[in-house]
């Protein structure tokens, strides 16, 4: 397990290094240049050049990249040009809000989705199963922004029960904080639930047909033990992977949902940075989003290995 984790971390570092180069190059290729943007529309060429020198923009790309990368390694993400602040605290704040969204949404998805999946599998072919399947199809077929809009209209504008957007820090009290979370979380849950439920259902159906489940029944185990101890543990393997990947996705920002609910997470931050041509902010945000995504994947694999003794032991052996 340790060797495996080490290997994966090495790969992670490599991927991030490659990502950093890509991010750097892509942002360089974006239209407009930073110096003239800072200097303003009417600045003279001398002023622009001076700013460029000050920012090190006159140096070869490789040197610029070196400076940037070295800064990141020291934990210095640079300064936002538009906000004129260090980037790290801004990013951290947005990341924290995305984290809240991801944790709450996925907790709900995991509990409800796995529950529904198991229920449908156990009652395979019966009405419960057909209901779950039908609703799942609906969930998959309808795009996420549709739900978002419906929810905003119904609960926000029509019933006026919940705030339709924004964010309240928890320091404002639990209720305002929670009420701002409800709609984005529900939208995310609607978006992700169907896939988890269907995935759990199908792997559960497979597992329920295995010999070890039959053998557990032959041992006289009550059905609840058969399902929860013998079947579910094995059936959850694929679900765990997908959940972890979803986690990375939300952490990296769900632009559409964050925009509709004006939720100030990573997605909105990235959107803001791109709209305002804030190159250092774009670079830092994308890098952090990739890192979050890679880490979520890594967690998925480690979790998978941890739940699956076959893999866990294979790793110990190697």
């Amino acid at each position: 397990m340790l060797a495996y984790t080490l290997t994966r971390l090495v790969y992670l570092a490599l991927v991030l290094a490659v990502m950093s180069v890509l991010v750097f190059l892509v942002t360089q290729a974006m239209p407009g240049d930073v110096a003239s943007m800072i200097a303003g529309q009417f600045a003279s060429k001398e002023v622009v050049d001076a700013i460029a020198v000050k920012l090190g923009l006159d140096q070869p790309l490789i040197v610029q990249y070196g400076h940037w990368a070295a800064g990141i390694l020291r934990g210095d993400l640079g300064r936002s040009l538009v906000l004129e602040q260090p980037i790290a605290p801004i990013l951290l704040e947005a990341l924290g809000r995305s984290l809240v969204l991801a944790v709450v949404a996925l907790a709900v998805v995991a509990v409800v989705g796995i529950g529904l999946g198991v229920l449908a599998a156990v009652r395979r072919g019966k009405l419960t199963d057909q209901l779950v399947s039908g609703v799942s199809y609906l969930g998959i077929a309808v795009p996420d922004f549709f739900w978002a809009i419906v929810l905003v209209l119904v609960f926000g504008s029509y019933l006026k029960l919940l705030p339709t957007g924004g964010y309240a820090p928890i320091t404002d009290g639990f209720l305002p904080w929670a009420s701002h979370l409800v709609l984005p979380v529900v939208t995310l849950v609607l978006m992700l639930l169907a896939r988890i439920a269907r995935l759990t259902r199908s792997s559960m159906i497979d597992v329920l047909q295995t010999n070890y489940v039959k053998f557990a029944r032959a041992k006289g185990m009550p059905e609840s033990v058969v399902i929860l101890r013998h079947a579910l543990k094995n059936a959850l393997l694929p679900t765990i992977t997908v959940l972890a990947i979803d986690f990375g996705l939300i952490l990296g920002g769900v632009v559409v949902i964050e925009t509709i609910f004006s939720y100030p997470g990573m997605g909105r931050l990235l959107l803001f940075a791109i709209q305002r041509h804030d190159l250092p902010l774009i670079q830092a945000t994308i890098l952090i989003v990739s890192a979050a995504y890679c880490l979520a994947n890594l967690t998925a694999d480690l979790l998978y290995a941890f739940v699956n003794p076959k893999i866990r032991h294979g790793m110990r052996a190697s």
């Binding site: 060797a3 080490l6 290997t7 090495v10 295995t210 010999n211 070890y212 039959k214 053998f215 557990a216 029944r217 032959a218 041992k219 006289g220 185990m221 009550p222 033990v225 101890r229 013998h230 543990k233 094995n234 739940v307 699956n308 003794p309 076959k310 032991h313 190697s318």
Partner: protein, 713 residues
């Protein structure tokens, strides 16, 4: 009297006839009728099945696939599932009709009073739980033990089933154990609550022969010491002969014969039982004759039988047989047979195959001296999973699957490869078809390097070499009809005329014992045996010179297996086909092969003409393999069995691959030095440190074969 057809009595005949003072049966099944229903209708899996098992008795329930034997076992356990339904009948356990009990009470009996062991140990244990926990579960559930008390009992149980370090095994996950160990763990689970009845559903079918021999020994010992009764479901008559006191033969969901094992297997009364016994490949049989086989396939019933179920395949069938269902005719000893002609047929054996069945006499010359060999394997080596990496902890030496193997296959020659799982036998076959690239060494097909040709994209040679393998379901596309699946290779081979292709397909299907109309069926509509026949037909579609048969008949029923073996032999004789015949079953290989390689741990232990390999001198592994071959009651005395230890470690290293399990191991020399190869003039090679003369001193496992000149070549 057993001469005239009788009206079918409603109660189980065995019980009705049990007039002699015998103990009351522990399990008494009467009139059990089970059907499977789905959208397309219902199928009868068991019709009016009755049998009884007395305390301390092991009863074999034998039959081929589709006979309903497993269904009956599952019905007793109340685990039918999948649309299965008991329509009528009684399942009396200790006098109580299980069918009248509520589901919760039946569950409480399961694992406690009635325990089960299933076929496949590899999948019967939950991969996510430790073995100890799984053995402890019924103890905690039924006996109310605390987990700690259970853990102590688990170690005792594991020790009882012959596991040497119970503590380690209890803490292990299933995948860390060998198949034999897993099956022992399952048996330990079943024994835990000291049940009265064991349901053993093909408990050794998935195991290697040498492991099977040990598990059977263990089961027999346990049944004896615990005074257990058991229902032993099996297709393997030899195994049934070893462990069962009585046997019930099923055909098409109907009991056709029941009685004491020795009597039924040595003097079967029902024609189907006669056929089964005759079709079993025997090492001692005259190989010039075709194996007797049962024509046709098992018909599926949708209602109660209106005629003798075996009539469509019975060589003795008459009009009377087809006009009314057969009654069970019983005598006072509990022997019963469901055939009105049984008495008249008492001395009549199953008919031999038709006169043309005498195979072309094969002399050494035809196969060996004719021109160059078709396949030449030279110092073949295959290592799986080796990897180089810059990360030191990722570097891996890999597992050696095949270690320096050399042999040839002549034109028209059948070379058998016998070995157990992990012996590298399948890898050898795959390397010969360029399905896997050798790590070292060469494989020449008709003088050309097949691997290189295939790498260049040249498929001509590959068309001349085909594969038939065991998993018949996986090798057919479920969405294509049989005809479409067989059409493709024909089209690829340039057969343009569709009508002619259709005829060829029909011919091939008929040839492998299927109706030509099967061309329009989908694989899921066929039985496992039928699918395998389709695979063989498909492999033959391109007129190959060489076919690798990888356990091609292992999953088939005995009667079908005989049919396929005969077919393969015929094709070899008529078309000059060569085979590499890979199998774990030395009896099967002795029927078809001219020469045999016995492989263990990726090396060849012994090689030679089949007649030589079956007689001393034996390689110690070959000797153990031969002694593990089960024999039927009528076939003469069983040889003393050489029981091998379970393999503790995978073979490998510098010494003899067999050293870890060899009962005749000499000592350190076997661990440290590769054994020398003793070779005799007739091409018999044995790799062992024991001198040839010493090896030759051992008694023959099959004394009937001792006379070398009488041995058909």
């Amino acid at each position: 009297m057993m001469t005239a057809p009788q009206a079918r009595p409603a109660v189980s005949p065995v019980v009705a006839s049990a007039s002699a003072p015998k103990p009351a049966p522990l399990l008494d099944v009467r009139g059990l009728t089970i059907s499977y229903g789905n959208a397309r209708g219902t199928l009868r899996a068991a019709s009016d099945v009755g049998f009884a098992i007395r305390p301390g008795e092991v009863m074999g329930l034998v039959g081929e696939s589709g006979s309903g034997k497993s269904t009956i076992a599952m019905a007793i356990l109340d685990l039918l599932g999948g649309g299965g339904r008991v329509d009528s009948g009684e399942i009396l356990f200790d006098g109580t009709d299980l069918r009248k009990l509520p589901a919760s009470e039946r569950r409480a009996l399961r694992g406690d009073r009635i325990a089960a062991v299933f076929q496949d140990p590899f999948t019967s244990l939950n991969p996510a739980l430790t073995v100890g926990r799984q053995i402890a579960e019924p103890l905690i559930q039924h006996k109310g033990l605390s987990p700690r008390q259970a853990a102590v009992r688990v170690e005792d149980l594991l020790a009882e089933v012959g596991i040497r370090d119970p503590r380690r095994v209890a803490a292990a996950y299933p995948h860390e154990l060998s198949g034999g160990m897993q099956q022992r763990a399952l048996i330990a689970t079943a024994l835990g609550c000291e049940p009265k009845l064991l349901i053993l559903d093909e408990p050794t079918t998935a195991l290697d022969v040498t492991v099977e021999a040990r598990i059977i020994e263990l089961l027999a010992k346990l049944c004896d010491s615990h005074k257990l009764s058991a229902l032993f479901v099996s297709h393997n008559l030899g195994i049934v002969n070893r462990i069962c006191q009585t046997v019930t033969v099923l055909y098409g969901g109907v009991v056709v014969e029941t009685g004491a094992t020795g009597r039924v297997l040595s003097r079967p009364a029902h024609p189907y039982a006669k056929g089964l016994v005759a079709a079993l490949p025997r090492i001692t049989a005259d190989r010039r004759h075709r194996l007797p086989s049962i024509p046709g396939t098992v018909a599926k019933l949708s209602g109660s039988p209106a005629a003798c179920v075996f009539a469509p395949r019975c060589p003795f069938a008459e009009e009377t047989c087809r006009s009314r269902p057969q009654a069970m005719l019983t005598d006072g000893d509990g022997d019963g047979v469901r055939c009105w002609k049984a008495d008249a047929l008492a001395g009549t054996p199953w008919p031999d195959e038709e006169a043309t069945g005498l195979r072309r006499p094969r002399t050494g010359e035809t196969a060996e001296t004719r021109s160059a060999p078709l396949v030449e394997v030279d110092h073949l080596r295959k290592i799986y999973g080796a990897s180089r990496s810059i990360l030191p902890w990722l570097r891996r030496a890999g597992t050696v699957a095949v270690e320096d193997v050399s042999f040839t296959i002549g034109r028209g020659e059948v070379v058998g490869v016998v070995g157990e799982s992990g012996s590298g036998k399948s890898t050898i076959g795959r390397a010969l078809l360029a399905l896997t690239e050798p790590s070292a060494g060469t494989v020449l097909f008709d003088g050309a390097d097949l691997t290189q040709q295939v790498k260049r994209g040249d498929q001509t040679l590959r068309r001349r070499a085909q594969l038939v393998f065991q998993n018949s379901a996986a090798s057919l596309n479920p969405r294509k009809t049989v005809g479409a699946a067989m059409d493709r290779p024909l089209v690829l081979a340039g057969r343009a005329d569709a009508e002619e292709r259709r005829k060829t397909i029909a011919g091939l299907l008929t040839r492998v014992g299927l109706p030509a109309a099967y061309a329009d069926r989908f694989p899921h509509e066929l039985s496992g045996g039928e699918r395998q026949r389709v695979n063989i037909a498909r492999a033959l579609a391109t007129d190959p010179d060489f076919v690798v048969c990888d356990e091609a008949v292992s999953a088939l029923d005995v009667s079908v297996q005989a049919n396929i073996l005969n077919l393969l032999a015929e094709l070899r004789d008529e078309m000059g086909l060569s085979y590499l015949f890979i199998t774990h079953d030395i009896a099967v290989v002795s029927h078809i092969a001219d020469r045999v390689l016995v492989v263990y741990g990726g090396t060849i232990c012994e090689e030679g003409p089949i007649g030589r390999v079956l007689r001393p001198p034996y390689h110690p592994y070959t000797e153990a393999l031969l002694s593990a071959v089960p024999r039927l009651a009528g076939d003469g005395p069983e040889a003393p069995r050489i029981l091998l230890e379970d393999a503790a470690t995978a073979p490998g290293g510098r010494g003899c691959a067999f050293a870890a399990r060899c009962p005749r191991k000499l000592g350190a020399v076997c661990d440290e030095q590769a054994p020398p190869v003793h070779e005799t003039a007739d091409g018999h090679r044995i790799a062992c440190h024991i001198p040839l003369a010493t090896l030759a001193e051992r008694a023959a496992v099959f004394p009937e074969l001792a006379d070398a000149d009488a041995l058909p070549r």
